[in-house]
Symmetry: C2
Subunit: 84 residues, 2 copies
Amino acid sequence: MDTITITGYIAGALTTISFIPQVARAWNLKETRDLSLAMLVLFAFGILLWTLYGLWMASPPIVAANAITFLLVLALLVMKVKYH
Amino acid sequence: MDTITITGYIAGALTTISFIPQVARAWNLKETRDLSLAMLVLFAFGILLWTLYGLWMASPPIVAANAITFLLVLALLVMKVKYH
């Protein structure tokens, strides 16, 4: 695997993993007041398009990172609606 | 411009723009308790690496989106530390 692809995987791992402490925080606090609903909705749509872009660019790091991130953002959206 | 690049730009625009209502919310509420500090730090590092990946992949959508997102996440990080 070349340096470019490895960098992409590390970048994808970081931006994806970053949502885990955010999901955990929302889950533990049962509070999402400071999270912006508009942010979550726009971000979720964007992440779906990034996944499509990654498929077209034949970039496994982009596809993998965004597919998992989408699920984590979906969890935040559900909690944002539930704990509002 | 081809469909792939246009999709990338729309994806980048959405995930980047999504941080604007989040920055606005933190600014207006002067509250960032529900935002995870670990999330912001990991995300900022990841975004920097995505920018590098975009440069190497010669992908203007990835570079543009991530460079701007980095500045918005930086603003959130400053407010997270300040309003904590």
